[in-house]
């Protein structure tokens, strides 16, 4: 491998260590959670950006923590896909942090019941930075037990964030999320135990190099796959997602839908990269079938929703499907398929976070998010409405957005392999996406005026951060060759 093995390679650990330390500082700095939180977010984003530039210029690398090499030690690996996910988290996370600063400022300025919002903000920043650090750890991890630990860290901090709003609905949803997530983690851990028993190693690359199909390995892969599907709410396991994502605070919804889901999926993809050559076509078609069912069912549910945030949450259920229907297409054009699905994940992350941020602003301004009563929001919140519509375009996959490039690559792969049923699912899914996005957009853009709050309570930082994310989702359509070239970089 081309990895740089110098001690100066410690740049790999900064995107993990910085947010963890910042979380601690934000928790201890009782008076100024926003200042320390935003500083931590900025530093983390800078560290992630530096890591990305290093990998672009010098190639990937790995770092053995404490100088202990695998198979005994735990190592971090920065290859192309890993640093792309870290960069995706940094861009989306920075915009969400800016939004969250404005969001809590507006909420606290509005007053309301007691000191509720001050307490919410006090716990939001440490939990969010902890989650960010755990996600970066998950993406950079090369050790499967370390992956389990980061998965649990991600789950515990996201459950804390989900319950933060204090509404009964969000607490019940958080409970369900936590139980589903615990089940997923334990299933994953038992799978890890089986893999260790058969291979005597915890390093994913070492295991995948020696992987051969045997009953314990098949059992391990089944346990790991089901655990991770629960974590990322693939179709039959999507029951916990919509209430948890829709009832959370606005920045939290964006974090959960845009970033957390990708953590579980990323691990799934990494495991299956090594496992794909071993399994028959049947298993792969089942995976793609679940993805296809998620696309259709999620889009249908999204169309039926009466509340804007529930619509966006069910849209996540549908979009997760696209992350799984790629598996039959990976068999032939492996490099191209991986590039397509990562591109989809990245553009979905920006677009979905922008949608949830915009929906949160609309909720805050109107005091509700019933779609049928949102007529004329564009006159009060023009920038937010524009951001919502732009992000919706990327989700539908209209050119020239990032979503279009990803779907175009999907379709050309599917056509080249004569997988016509996948083409059909994708086309129907995109049409349904267009229908439910247009249903929401037609109300917010309508010229009719409805009664809302008299003065504008949504701050400028909230409006512009949502628009910035939506613009990134559009911009991804123009700079496609840059990230796509990164997939060849090995760790």
């Amino acid at each position: 491998m081309m990895g740089l093995q110098l001690q100066s390679d410690c740049w790999l650990i900064w995107p993990v260590i910085l947010p963890l330390s910042a979380a601690l500082v934000a928790f201890l700095a009782k008076g100024q959670p926003r200042l320390s939180g935003l500083t931590g977010a900025l530093l983390t984003a800078l560290a992630s950006g530096t890591l990305f530039l290093k990998v672009v210029n010098h190639g990937g690398g790995s770092y053995d923590l404490g100088g202990w090499q695998p198979p005994l030690g735990i190592s971090l690996r920065g290859d192309g896909p890993a640093v792309l996910m870290v960069l995706m988290t940094a861009v989306t996370g920075l915009a969400i942090s800016v939004y969250a600063g404005g969001y809590f400022q507006s909420r606290i300025a509005m007053g309301g019941k007691g000191r509720r919002h001050i307490v919410q903000e006090r716990f939001f920043w440490p939990l969010w930075l902890l989650l960010w650090g755990a996600l970066n750890g998950l993406f950079l991890s090369a050790d499967i037990f370390n992956m389990y630990v980061t998965l649990e860290l991600v789950a515990l901090s996201s459950v804390g964030l989900t319950a933060l709003s204090g509404k009964p609905a969000s607490q019940v949803a958080a409970m369900r999320y936590l139980l589903a997530s615990l089940l997923g983690s334990l299933s994953f851990l038992l799978g890890v135990a089986f893999l260790y028993k058969t291979h005597g190693s915890l390093d994913l690359a070492t295991i995948q190099a020696a992987l051969a199909l045997s009953p314990p390995v098949a059992l391990a892969m089944a346990l790991i796959s089901v655990g991770l599907m629960l974590k990322c709410a693939l179709f039959p396991f999507h029951f916990w997602l919509a209430p948890a994502h829709a009832n959370a605070l606005a920045p939290v919804s964006a974090i959960l839908s845009g970033l957390v889901i990708k953590g579980g999926w990323y691990l799934f993809f990494r495991f299956w990269q090594g496992f794909l050559p071993l399994v028959g076509d049947g298993v792969v078609v089942v995976l793609a079938g679940l993805g296809g069912a998620a696309i259709i069912w999620g889009a249908f549910q999204a169309f039926c929703q009466q509340r804007l945030k529930m619509l966006v949450a069910y849209s996540t259920v549908a979009q997760i499907g696209y992350l799984f229907i790629i598996f039959p297409l990976l068999a032939i054009g492996a490099g191209q398929g991986a590039a397509a699905v990562f591109y989809f994940a990245i553009s979905h992350s920006c677009a979905k976070a922008a949608l949830f941020l915009a929906a949160g602003s609309i909720f805050l301004q109107m005091g509700h998010d019933r779609i049928n009563n949102l007529d004329g929001v564009r006159q009060i919140l023009p920038i937010t409405t524009f951001a919502f519509a732009l992000a919706g375009l990327s989700l539908m996959g209209l050119p020239p957005t990032g979503g279009f490039i990803a779907k175009y690559m999907y379709l050309s792969l599917a056509v080249s392999q004569d997988s016509w049923w996948l083409v059909l699912v994708m086309v129907v899914g995109s049409c349904l996406t267009a229908i439910y996005i247009c249903r929401a957009v037609s109300h917010v853009l309508s010229p009719r005026m409805v009664a809302g709050r008299s003065q504008v309570v949504v701050g400028a930082s909230m409006e512009w951060s949502a628009l910035a994310l939506a613009l990134v989702a559009i911009l991804l359509g123009f700079i496609a060759p840059l990230p796509l070239g990164l997939f060849e970089v090995v760790g």
């Binding site: 204090g166 009964p168 936590l178 089940l183 005597g200």
Partner: protein
């Protein structure tokens, strides 16, 4: 004929995992679900400890380190889930109380 102890422990661990899974899915009460998740975790840990015993009587320390870390994670997540369960119960009680009071006023 003697059964190797590793096999007994391993199968017991797997049995506990499956029993916990059944409890987690079928029990309606929250506390029982939490206990079931804990039993599942214990099953996984027992299985992990058994793995360390294999390989010609030489003890492999890595699974033991994994179990130690796993126990820490399990204790923390149990603490979170219990705290959240208390909060859910409190909120539900307050909600009930408000609803009953509102109903009483109307009558």
């Amino acid at each position: 004929m003697s059964v190797p102890p590793a096999l007994v422990y391993g199968l017991t661990g797997l049995f506990l995992f499956v029993a916990g899974l059944a409890g987690l899915i079928s029990c309606a009460q929250l506390l029982r679900k939490i206990l079931a998740a804990n039993i599942m975790a214990s099953g996984v840990f027992l299985f992990l400890v058994t793995i360390g015993h294999g390989r010609g009587g030489v003890i492999d320390p890595v699974p033991h380190a994994m179990v130690l870390t796993g126990i820490v994670v399990s204790v923390s997540s149990t603490a979170v889930v219990l705290a959240l369960a208390c909060r859910v119960q409190e909120t539900a009680n307050i909600h009930d109380l408000l609803k009953r009071r509102a109903g009483g006023d109307r009558e």
